[in-house]
Subunit: 204 residues, 2 copies
Amino acid sequence: MPQGQPLVVPEDGLTTRQRRNRPLLVVHTGDGKGKSTAAFGLALRGWNQGWRIGVFQFVKSAKWRIGEQTVLERLGELHRETGEGGPVEWHKMGSGWSWSRKQGETEDHEAAAREGWQEIKRRLADESHDLLVLDEFTYLMKWGWVDVDDVVATLTARPGHQHVVITGRSAPPALVDAADLVTEMTKVKHPMDAGQKGQRGIEW
Amino acid sequence: MPQGQPLVVPEDGLTTRQRRNRPLLVVHTGDGKGKSTAAFGLALRGWNQGWRIGVFQFVKSAKWRIGEQTVLERLGELHRETGEGGPVEWHKMGSGWSWSRKQGETEDHEAAAREGWQEIKRRLADESHDLLVLDEFTYLMKWGWVDVDDVVATLTARPGHQHVVITGRSAPPALVDAADLVTEMTKVKHPMDAGQKGQRGIEW
């Protein structure tokens, strides 16, 4: 809520405006629903601000296309047609990243994941996006595919004004420490517990 | 995740398909971020399915317009122009509901809140929407403006196939009991704790 007042005013020599406009590292973790959905909601909000949106989905299947991708890519098209909002790029690891020559060769998920992270590092250095969503990125660190210290050092030292949102269960403590905003989504009740399967429009 | 398997198959006489397509009552509660953002993300996803989306914001100021409203209303317009997605209605309590003759007379928030709930009851009876987002609706029950038993009875008995998403802190236990999917968003860390104010694109 915009009317929220900070509890503490830090002695960091920044004006309120400078502090307000600091780029954020946001983490959505926990075993509940809504981690990715809320991240894509932030992308929607950023698009409306004219931000350059980059979504990187570290998921297993590239055949899987969620509604948010369709809508955000449609909004990116709208930006090209009418100038409304900002440009949108949506990349999925699934069958090889779209920028990669190795598309379709997806046997080595670990290599593909590392390649995704290297590309994100390049984009952060180039300040290619105003908001980056690294969806289900925590697993790469959990599985040791990407080094947590490298991630934290890279994100902490990122230049310019780039917001980064990372989603996934089991966010490593070093990432939580480095983040500005961390929310844990906790499952209280889920229809699958009662035997209901996922459904179109709700789960994807 | 679509590949998720239910832990229990209930003996309710329904087929998997029938069970999959049951309308859901979803609650996003807790003191963390992302409750509304994830709800609007579901609206985005629903729009992409061609669903008729109805958002009802029980907020204090009508002057306040969040990015999601602009984008979802733009998507509703796109639906009218091209037939893509579904229709979108977005109503705010702020300066009197848009359907009300008393627009602008906002002194009595409790009356406005009750009026919003009565309108939602009518729409549920008429099956006007496929997905209804009742944003920050829990407070009405907390403050005793709307009766929890009435809400639960109405939602439990709603006809047809209407998904309902309710957001807000302190969801009453009876609502949680009645809900199919409940997620608690817990604040782990927030920039306001470190003296940072909310910022455009992130908070609104």
